[in-house]
């Protein structure tokens, strides 16, 4: 006997096991797919449509598999009960009996078409169509082996079609044994999923995933591997070789050959990894601890900090964008590997730059949200300036040819081609738990205080999480370019900003300034619906892109701000 106890405090609630199936197995938490039905196979209901008899829908029709004289619904069918427990029951217990004809409401259907037996699906559908109420079936014995005596006359039985559910409670008839409704499901579900015809699956499922950090390998604070290749290489979840970290193919057909087959899935489905946040995981998930930081004193101080952060995001977005255009056009190189490397590097750097632009917007959104919440005493923002110092993680091996780090750990903004030292510097800027991260941790700690709307905290948390990926992406670019000479992949090793007076340069700069004007208009009111200015800015960004490409073809970059050039003297030393 289980005594009735009620967990009261938190530890008690966490420790109590509730009797019964886990909640995920219940119908109401199902995904509601009915192909044939992920939670139960409703064909199993119709196996018992006739009280006291159990059928199987086979390729040659509805075959009687058992007489169940203990069926509770026989209680309301005394004549049938008597027949089944007597001579009729005895006859039916021997040999292979099939439904030959079904009659309901004056309509009779013979279970044959053009002289052939109906198949499983058709015979089931006919049974499925029966209404509650009187039904008459005619059963005919068929020979199973040659020479078997099947001279018996067909047997005709009448009864009410079973009510599968209790009309009052909705409870499934107790005639069904536990497990009976699910017995024919494709199980495990991965087996089913492998052949899913349309790759539509009604609930989240893994297909292409990121590899787990191998045991003992260092991880970033986000839990992602420190090794940039492991951190970002997608692999196929159904792969047969579980230890393989080979990148997934680009088409389903590519991956097919290396996937577990059905038989293998049935044998070792449990080896298929749980996937969390896109990454395979084999141990107990430990959520990332929120970094502890001292909250800022007031909403005004917070907004001022955000305004500074926006300038930083803006400055690095431009630096990354600038470096991206210094890479050669993949179409202009012949070497296939280099072509791929360039395509990859351009894409990744562009993604990070766009992500920084998004941060710029989010930081501004935080500011305008604080303003809308009436928390600011003075108007701060929009913040679309450029920081005059960029913080970098302390790195004792900082190359001397980069602009010197001033004060604690900062350097002026730079417009430089993607030289190895510059890429290393970008990595130092994006280093997790570095300065930027720490600044947002403080923003987060402040937004956790009660006076702030809860949605803002989530926004700040997103910026932190996003920053992690930047680090890994740059490091992956570093891996891809590692064994190549800068002259192989750069348009030029100097790639200076276009000088003032250069027509193309001035045009690009003008476009950039127009973008800022549009953004300023959009952010000033913080109207999320202000599509016109945002749309205008977006159009201008495409224009800027073609102008930047044009300049790049002449080995020059967009002069976003006065550039700091490489320190040549120090380079020689």
């Amino acid at each position: 006997m289980i005594p009735k106890i009620f967990p009261r405090n938190l530890t008690a609630r966490a420790a109590t096991l509730v009797a019964g199936n886990p909640v995920t197995t219940r119908l109401e938490s199902g995904v509601g797919n009915c192909f044939p039905g992920l939670e139960f196979d409703h064909r199993n209901l119709d196996r018992r449509f006739f009280p006291g008899l159990v059928f199987e829908f086979t390729a040659t029709g509805a075959r009687l598999v058992r007489v169940d004289s203990s069926d509770p619904d026989l209680e309301s069918e005394p004549a049938l009960k008597k027949a089944l427990s007597g001579k009729t029951g005895k006859s039916l217990a021997e040999g292979a009996w099939f439904i030959q004809q079904i009659t309901q409401g004056g309509t009779s259907i013979v279970m044959k078409q053009d002289g052939d037996d109906l198949d499983a699906m058709t015979s089931w559908r006919l049974v499925r169509c029966l209404q509650p109420g009187k039904v008459t079936i005619q059963l005919k014995r068929r020979p199973v082996t040659a020479g078997e005596n099947v001279s018996q006359q067909p047997i005709t039985l009448s009864a009410n079609r079973r009510n599968y559910l209790d009309a009052q409670t909705g409870v499934i008839s107790t005639a069904f044994a536990p497990g009976e409704l699910t017995q024919s499901l494709c199980s495990p579900w991965m087996h089913d999923f492998r052949d899913c015809a349309c790759f539509y699956w009604a609930s989240n499922h893994p297909d292409i995933v990121l590899a787990e950090d191998p045991p003992g390998e260092p991880t970033l604070p986000s839990g992602a591997p420190q090794d940039p290749l492991l951190a970002l290489t997608p692999i196929d979840w159904l792969r047969g070789d579980r230890s393989s970290t080979k990148p997934a193919g680009t088409t389903e057909a590519d991956n097919r050959r290396a996937q577990m087959d059905h038989y293998e899935i049935n044998l070792r489905w449990q080896d298929l990894a749980i996937v969390l946040q896109g990454r395979e995981i084999s141990s107990v998930y430990q959520p990332r601890q929120p970094e502890k930081a001292n909250p800022l004193a007031s909403p005004d101080a917070l907004a001022a900090r955000l305004a500074d952060l926006a300038k930083l995001e803006h400055a690095v977005a431009l630096e990354y964008l600038y470096a991206r255009y210094s890479l050669k056009n993949p179409d202009d190189v012949a070497d296939r590997d280099l072509k791929d490397a360039l395509t990859f590097a351009q894409h990744e750097i562009f993604l990070v730059a766009v992500s920084e632009m998004r941060h710029l917007r989010w930081a501004n959104q935080l500011i305008w949200s604080l303003e809308h919440a009436g928390l600011l005493s003075t108007k701060i923002g929009p913040s679309l300036g450029i920081a005059d110092q960029i913080p970098v993680a302390s790195d004792p091996s900082r190359p001397p040819q980069l602009p010197p780090i001033k004060g604690v750990k900062t350097r002026p903004p730079q417009l430089m081609p993607l030289l190895p030292v510059v890429l290393q510097d970008f990595i130092a800027v994006e280093q997790p738990s570095g300065f930027l991260d720490g600044q947002y941790s403080q923003v987060l700690a402040t937004l956790r205080e009660q006076q702030y709307p809860p949605t803002l905290e989530q926004l700040a948390a997103r910026i932190i999480a996003d920053g992690m990926e930047h680090f890994s992406r740059f490091r992956q670019v570093q891996v891809v370019l590692k064994n190549r000479k800068p002259t192989d992949y750069l348009r030029s090793e100097t790639f200076p900003p276009a000088p003032a007076g250069n027509t193309d340069g001035d045009a690009a700069l003008n476009t950039y300034k127009q973008i800022l004007t549009e953004l300023e208009e959009a952010y000033a009111n913080g109207d999320m619906e202000d599509a016109s200015h945002i749309a205008a800015a977006r159009t201008l960004m495409f224009q800027l892109d073609s102008q930047a490409r044009k300049l790049a073809a002449h080995e020059q970059g967009v002069p976003f701000f006065p550039a700091v050039t490489l320190n040549k003297k120090r380079k020689k030393r």
């Binding site: 005594p3 009735k4 967990p7 405090n9 938190l10 008690a12 420790a15 502890k292």
Partner: protein, 451 residues
């Protein structure tokens, strides 16, 4: 109160006695209108239907089944403290081993801890702070100031705060501050410092003027109460981000609790805690065996008044109750009474490390010195010896992981007394919690709880 202590099925021996080698109790049952079962490891609290309660009350097998059916992660509580022990994230600096008051009962004996009055130097304070930040990598740290009266060494207090903030910025470890003071010497600039750095301020006051001044006097006999309230007034009226708490010492001369809370609440405090005197240079003031039942009644009376306040929508003031409720809700379960020698250590004016602020300059509790810092071995040795599962009568007590075995300094100096008082108070709090969870769920940040 129908009270039944179950020791794995056997009825407990009379209170206060224990038998060596007996299996430690794993479940504690509380009968009555709302029967409760308290699982000792992990502090899991269950309500039971009266029928269910009756069915397990005398059935050791059913009780065992109940305990074993729980998925608690606290089965291994006996392995605390963890090895290796991590560095403390909290220190208190005894910056002034001297005091402007001469409270009769003070454990520190006017702050001098039985020695000569002394002040901590800047170098010593900075060295301790540097060591704290260097060792508590990446953690939030707390720097506390204590004495004596810490504001007698204002210069070091101010400079230490500035120094800790610089270290905090350099290391990225956030820092919080606390101070324990008699409140009588605070200036406007002190209040400003406390506000600017969101101090937790613990003020030693025993109640209203009459109650307080009975034992808390200045050398010239002037009222300590008036002096403290006068200088704290602006902070009490507008605490800002300061958390200000009054802490009363209860001597056997006056065991009342509620009148102290009322008087200090009138003076502007919103958090008031009490603590009975167990050791003192004046033994006549220390609570005796006869006093504990009276104190328990007084505590219960004060808590009852808090319940009425909750019913009228007012906030809790009695911090002993508030902390107990919070800990019971979270399932607080620790084999030690406090963080002393583990997450928290105290530094004397000479830069020596002690297990806590109560044990300054007592060689038995010394766990490090200025030159070499903390001794890992001494800390571990101390904590191992203090584990409740390693000592009787604690090992045989159902309340051991809630109580933690009592203050190390007090127990080692004067033995254990008042264990029945502690158990009685905890039982009262368990019932209070059970009721409050249904009646005031918002107190625990919750909506309605089905029960």
């Amino acid at each position: 109160m129908a009270e039944l202590v179950i020791l794995d099925g056997r009825v407990a021996p009379p209170r206060g006695t224990f038998t060596q080698g007996r299996t430690p109790p794993s479940l504690h049952l509380l009968g009555g209108d709302r029967p409760l079962a308290f699982v000792v490891k992990g502090s899991l609290l269950f309500g039971l239907e009266p029928k269910a309660f009756a069915s397990i009350q005398d059935n050791p097998t059913a009780q065992e089944e109940l305990v074993n059916s729980l998925r608690t992660r606290h089965r291994n509580i006996s392995t605390v403290p963890p090895v290796p022990l991590s560095a403390p994230n909290s220190i208190s600096l005894n910056i002034a081993q001297s005091c402007n008051l001469s409270c009769s009962y003070c454990y520190a004996e006017e702050g001098r801890f039985g020695g000569r009055a002394s002040m901590m130097s800047l170098e010593t304070a900075f060295a301790a702070i540097d060591r704290l930040f260097a060792e508590a990598v990446g953690q939030r740290v707390t720097v506390g100031f204590i004495g004596g009266e810490p504001f007698l060494n204002r210069e070091v207090l101010y400079a230490s705060v500035e120094h800790a903030i610089v270290r905090s910025h350099e290391t990225g470890s956030p820092v919080g501050f606390s101070v324990t003071t008699n409140g009588t010497l605070l200036t406007a600039s002190d209040l400003d410092l406390l506000r600017r750095h969101s101090f937790v301020v613990s003020v030693s006051l025993d109640g209203g003027a009459d109650t307080n001044d009975r034992h808390r006097k200045s050398f010239n006999g002037k009222s300590g109460f008036q002096a403290a309230i006068r200088s704290l007034q602006p902070l009490l009226q507008n605490p800002g981000k300061v958390r200000i708490v009054a802490r009363c010492t209860i001597t056997r001369e006056d065991l009342r609790v509620l009148n102290r809370i009322d008087a200090l609440a009138d003076a502007g405090f919103s958090e008031i805690g009490v603590s009975p005197l167990r050791t003192s240079p004046k033994p006549g003031l220390v609570l005796q065996d006869d006093d504990w039942p009276i104190l328990l009644d007084e505590m219960v009376r004060a808590a009852g008044s808090e319940k009425e306040r909750l019913r009228s929508g007012l906030a809790l003031r009695f911090s002993n109750l508030a902390i107990a409720l919070k800990q019971l809700h979270a399932g607080y379960s620790k084999p030690l009474p406090c963080g002393a020698a583990a997450s928290y250590v105290s530094v004397s004016t000479r830069g020596e490390y002690f297990t806590c602020h109560r044990t300054i300059d007592n060689p038995r509790f010394k766990i490090g010195n200025e030159a070499f810092g903390l001794s890992q071995e001494k800390r571990e040795q101390f904590l191992r010896s203090r584990h409740v599962d390693r000592q009787e009568p604690c090992r045989s007590c159902w309340a051991r992981y809630l109580c933690g075995g009592g203050c190390h300094a007090e127990v080692l100096a004067a033995g254990r007394s008042g264990c029945d008082y502690i158990r009685g108070w905890l039982e009262y709090c368990l019932r209070f919690y059970d009721q409050a969870l249904s009646e005031f769920p918002s107190l625990f940040g919750e909506g309605e709880i089905a029960s």
